[in-house]
């Protein structure tokens, strides 16, 4: 941080340092909320500044929240694997795929000839499908881990990435495109994907909990500001808010897991597995439990990401998503649950959605339709008569492609300047109680002298 500050002019540097210091002093929840609010502030401010319609504003908030939530969930799950247990899982996307595909298989309505979907499902309720998807991801984790955990860390990495590609190719294959299960024609649809033609999960949830009236009321309320068909907007906002509740649940679960004797053994395995063994811990069992839990959470992450999207195709599950989650974890700081949420949020807001949002902002101001279609035509005027316009247009037009370059640069910068990530201090104590001295030990910890 100091190196960043040193390049700024004096007063700015002071502000920056103060801001960083104040931020790191805060309670973890405050950090997360403050960060999220400032990201939203920037998004909304930019939207207002450019006179975006209200509908677009709400949509971009919903989309932003959606990605913040899914990346936070996946990063939290990865943190359990890597940050806590030292398990090098680079097959995240495979567990996501298993989650959503099994969920679709279980919850899609039974095949009816002449329907839109070429294959059917088992027609069970959504929550059964979600549980089945998580269970399937956990079981796949078990199968993958069993041989690999006996070997050392790198082997798990190789096995997991291979697994995630095997999963993708299996779903692509015609062999599983349609088959019979329990007398029903079901299937995964092969390369053309699978249509998620079950009831809208959000509506199903509100109906099941008897709160559908509340939801309708909300839609009506929005109709006053967005008169034209408000329900997709409301749907997006509510769904992303529900995802935030899931993030909170992940955080709660993993914090408790980490701050416990169980989490202590996981940390010990991360540091030195032989020592944990020498102290009588059955490390393989701990590793498998931790791995299965993380995989189930990744499966759920995949389900929540895709269940409302209408359809899934196997090629969504390319390894790049796995690496996105890794970037988020490295950004936030491996070993810290708070860091994982912060990393997921920053990744989603700045590196994932940021360039796209930036592009759409620019294209509302500048007409980018004249952008050259290739690198050559873009650079030629710059070299010939110092005209930068085509090059800039080209850059803005290909911001999505540049996204990966930006991610790479951020990673390199991090590795040089802050390899432990933003909050990777690993100070989340692995015990279910505060480890202060009992009874007549320390003076009461009201921190009086620490401020002096």
């Amino acid at each position: 941080m100091s190196s960043a500050a040193s390049r700024l002019p004096e007063p700015l540097a002071t502000y920056w340092n103060e801001a960083v210091e104040t931020f790191t002093r805060q309670h973890d929840v405050v950090k997360i909320v403050a960060l999220l609010l400032s990201v939203y502030f920037v998004y909304v401010l930019a939207g207002i500044g450019l006179g975006f319609p209200l509908r677009g504003q709400f949509n971009s908030i919903a989309v932003l929240t959606f990605y913040v939530a899914v990346f936070s969930m996946l990063t939290l799950a990865l943190n359990l694997h890597w940050g806590y247990t030292g398990l090098f899982n680079i097959g995240i996307v495979g567990f996501m795929a298993i989650g959503i595909y099994v969920m679709a298989l279980v919850s899609k309505p039974v095949y009816s000839p002449g329907g839109a979907a070429s294959v059917g499902g088992l027609g069970l309720p959504l929550w059964v499908g979600i549980l089945a998807g998580m269970l399937a991801a956990a079981v796949l984790g078990f199968v993958v881990a069993l041989p690999a955990l006996r070997l050392r860390a790198d082997y798990l990495a190789i096995v997991t990435i291979a697994m995630s590609e095997i999963v993708r190719f299996s779903f692509l294959s015609d062999a599983f495109a349609s088959f019979q299960l329990a007398g029903q024609p079901v299937g995964f649809g092969g390369g053309s994907g699978i249509i998620l033609d079950y009831q809208d999960p959000l509506i199903a949830f509100f109906e099941a909990t008897g709160t559908i009236g509340l939801y309708r009321g909300l839609v009506d309320a929005f109709a006053t500001v967005i008169p034209n068909n408000p329900s997709p907007v409301v749907n997006g906002l509510v769904y992303s808010a529900v995802l935030l509740v899931f993030v909170a649940s992940y955080y709660w679960l993993l914090k408790r897991t980490g701050e416990s004797p169980f989490g202590r053994v996981l940390k010990a395995i991360r540091e030195d597995e032989d020592v944990a063994q020498a102290l009588g811990k059955n490390t393989n069992r701990f590793k498998i439990k931790s791995f299965m839990l993380g995989c189930a959470l990744m499966g759920l992450g995949g389900i929540l990401w895709l269940m409302g999207q209408g359809a899934v195709t196997p090629n969504f599950f390319r390894p790049r998503i796995t690496f996105f989650v890794w970037i988020a974890l490295i950004l936030g700081g491996a070993g810290s649950n708070t860091g994982s949420v912060v990393g997921g949020a920053i990744f989603a807001a700045v590196l994932y959605q940021g360039p796209r949002y930036f592009q759409s902002l620019v294209s509302t101001v500048v007409d980018t339709s004249a952008a050259p279609s290739g690198f050559g035509p873009a650079v030629a005027p710059l070299l010939a008569n110092f005209d930068p316009t085509p090059f800039l247009l080209y850059t803005v037009d290909s911001v999505r492609q540049l996204q990966l370059v930006i991610m790479g640069l951020v990673l390199i910068w991090l590795m040089h300047n802050r390899p432990e990530g933003m909050l990777g201090h690993r100070e989340e104590t692995a015990a279910s109680i505060p480890l202060t001295r009992p009874a007549a030990g320390k003076p009461a910890a009201d921190g009086g002298e620490a401020d002096e």
Binding site: R256, P261, Q277, A278, G280, N282, I433, R437
Partner: protein, 280 residues
């Protein structure tokens, strides 16, 4: 499942053998005809010895004699090519290291292996056996977690006592990776003791520890020995071995050269030969 490990933190360690017979045995640790080679090198070549209950037994030998490998074979870190290890009347050859540790045979490492990015307190809290909270569901579910926390309080009390004993309370919140070499040795010994073992295998526990601390540690070892703990000690400091051990085993080139009281060893020509001649 580890759910079954729900006994109290201080549960007596009798589940493996069952009756009282083996624990009365005079020789808790019996090693018979161990062989181990790595590639073409024979590290341990037919080692047999016994360790008597309640003694401090020293295992000495020149570098490369096979002492550390013997430790690794006893504690399950390596599997012997042939031979058996018996602990408290039960054969433990080929068991996993954690299974051996759970039977009360606990080791420390030659180069201290503290868990670097964990605090000293966390390192020590890890050690006690039969922690309920090591079952994931107990640590997570609301009501049962309170019971876990109660047990954590008890463990924490023991940990602080141990910290005081080893005089490292001031390091409690320090990350173990920041400790000095000697402090790491202390931490490692403290951690091994907190597992509540029957017998401790100490691999050069005094290397890098200052003389005052060394004396203190030795006093403590003797105290524990009188309480009935058994120690097997690898050490290079001959004076230390000769002045503190009741029984000394000398290894040379993977075999047991000789064993006996320190006086016997001192006068043994072969030992002098092994240390001063050939490969020191």
């Amino acid at each position: 499942m580890s759910e079954s490990e729900s006994g109290a933190a201080s549960a007596p360690r009798s589940e493996s053998a069952g009756d009282a017979g083996p624990t009365d045995a005079r020789f808790p640790l019996q090693v018979e005809d161990l062989h181990k080679s790595f590639g073409g090198i024979t590290a341990v070549d037919g080692a047999s010895f016994e360790v008597e209950r309640g003694t401090l037994t020293g295992l000495i030998g020149p570098n490369g004699a096979g002492k550390s490998t013997t430790f690794n074979l006893i504690t399950g870190m390596h599997t012997p090519d042939s031979g058996t290890v018996t602990f408290n009347g039960e054969e433990i050859t080929g068991l996993e290291p954690y299974e051996i540790a759970n039977r009360g045979l606990v080791r420390t490492f030659q180069i201290a292996r503290e868990l670097q990015e964990m605090t000293v307190l966390e390192n020590l809290m890890l050690a006690p056996q039969h922690q309920q909270g090591e079952a994931l569901w107990r640590s997570v579910l609301p009501v049962v977690r309170d019971r876990v926390s109660e047990q954590e309080e008890e463990i924490l009390d023991r940990v602080w006592e141990t910290l005081e004993f080893f005089d490292i309370e001031h390091l409690a919140e320090e990350e173990a990776g920041n400790l000095s070499g000697g402090q790491r040795k202390l931490l490692e010994m403290a951690r091994a003791l907190l597992t509540d073992p029957d017998m401790l295998l100490l691999d050069e526990p005094f290397a890098g520890v200052n003389p005052t601390l060394e004396r203190r540690l030795l006093e403590h070892v003797h105290e524990l020995r009188e309480e009935g703990y058994t120690f097997l000690l690898v050490e290079h400091d001959m004076d230390l071995i000769m002045n503190n051990c009741e029984h000394v085993i000398v290894m040379h080139q993977g075999q047991i050269l000789t064993e006996g009281t320190p006086d016997d060893i001192r006068q043994n020509e072969e030992v002098i030969e092994a240390y001063l001649g050939g490969n020191v």
